[in-house]
Symmetry: C2
Subunit: 351 residues, 2 copies
Amino acid sequence: MAGGIGSRFWPISRNSRPKQFLDILGTGKTLLRSTFERFLPLVPAENFLVVTNAAYCDLVLREIPELSRSQVLCEPIGRNTAPCIAYAAFRLRAIDPDAGMIVTPSDHYIADENIFREVIGECADFIDGRNSLMTIGIEPTCPNTGYGYIQADNSCRVTDSIYKVKTFTEKPGIEMATAFIESGEFYWNSGIFIWKPDTIISEIKKSLPDMYELFDSILPWYNTSQEEEYIRKIYPECKGISIDVGVMEKAEDTFVRCSKFGWSDIGTWGSLYDHSDKDGEGNVVPAHSALFDTRNCIVKAPADKMVVVENLEDFIIVDSPDVLVVCPRDNEQNIKKYIEEVKFRKGDRFI
Amino acid sequence: MAGGIGSRFWPISRNSRPKQFLDILGTGKTLLRSTFERFLPLVPAENFLVVTNAAYCDLVLREIPELSRSQVLCEPIGRNTAPCIAYAAFRLRAIDPDAGMIVTPSDHYIADENIFREVIGECADFIDGRNSLMTIGIEPTCPNTGYGYIQADNSCRVTDSIYKVKTFTEKPGIEMATAFIESGEFYWNSGIFIWKPDTIISEIKKSLPDMYELFDSILPWYNTSQEEEYIRKIYPECKGISIDVGVMEKAEDTFVRCSKFGWSDIGTWGSLYDHSDKDGEGNVVPAHSALFDTRNCIVKAPADKMVVVENLEDFIIVDSPDVLVVCPRDNEQNIKKYIEEVKFRKGDRFI
């Protein structure tokens, strides 16, 4: 899944170049490319499908030249994750009805990729003989209110770390998140799923029958040269809804693999700060910088730019060629406020 | 005089484009061009001489296309104001021994240009029949420690506002500056002088005989095609010294025209802040900006850049294509510290 616009990383992420196409972590690779390479030891390149907005098709192919054009599934319009996953599932079933399907966002951070691949492999084995939905839950390290949570059913433990799912919960308030953590039953919802295409299609049929009908109505055309033309027709009619709310919360035969491999959805500048290497004063600094009396700041700038800062604490400084943002690090919502204000004043020019 | 490098406006001013070649005040014109136009009602274009570093000759001609190449006097190396003024005086005397000479920096701010021109005209009349040195003193509005001071001799008043000079004083400490202001005898030294070339040459001969000898040794070549070649030979041998320290402090027949037309040498980001229009929160903002909870800041950025700031007070934000500076507004010395640090780390790349 590579269709998001990642507006919380504005002004680095733009409508024309969202977060997954950026080297947000400074690894030398975009998040999309890192995601591809993370799975490559498990999945041959020809077995990847990337669902993205039609506008980003070329960006995807530039980042992953190993893919053929037919492996990029173009959404004519963003409709959240449920239609995106439905589309991929219908396509995959048309290619191979017995295939396993791993669904993953393309803009996450994974610290230990070996453990990650072990976990994914185990999940793939788990769903091999079953018509179950499988999701990756992350052992929480704090009561993060930016994530959805999965409650494991402790009375229904299948293996050491695979449980039946009791509930899915959208982003909770801080009190609820704290209670979740204390209970020991809750895991962060990573948005990574493992299942067979037929399994998820059946669940979509149950929970989102209208959406199912739309995708089912063009059944003869999946994996043909006319697929995209038909997708362009039905896709805008789909309801925009996440797979969690649309399907997972209602599904019954759902399991969670409780995992710990160092994970973040890198959803905000604050979480990028948390997951970045820091200097002795707690600053995340770019290639060229000179900081004086400055602590716990994150500075992002083009690689060839020099940034000089004095007397700031807990600030974000983000410089892009046409937008500069200097703001406190503690308010995760401020970036959206800035985008709205700039949009109101100047239209889409800087968005 | 347009030879300075204006390092205190780094990173906007650079070795390759010093302050006088920038539109620091956001008027749509560079300081050099504004200076030229300020004098144009008094002095025909063909009577200007611009002394600058040889490296900036093209910049001068681009800014003031009204000048011919021979009106740009090229210093092979910066040697402070005494040699610069000596050079111009020798050239001017060679053109017209009876000319009046107005010496002015090219990077100052003048609020009321009409009063300014009246004052200059009055001074020009004053020196017409005399071999006196004339300087413009500015009625001080605060005990600024960044300026030199001129003490007027109240017992020797020539007109309403022209006094004999008692002393010239280099930048004083704050106690002394405060005492200066309280005395009512002291004026800011604007660095603007009016005299005849022969008068200043005689004073240079008295106070800086070595320098005089150097310039006098190439007397046949002023205002000829070989002048520059000879200047290149003698100039590096000149001592680097200001006209104030080298000549004015020692000269006897010196007068000050006490004036009030709104003046600043715009020597620092802080003084630029003082002389710029502010929004309701005391911020000096660029064309495109969105400020939240931000007060008394000065933000400089390229005209096509959007700057978003939250929760800053009394800060300077200066963005140039390859350097960004974010620092407190109160410390006038910090820019020099940054330049040294960046030079130490990266050499001249960002200087």
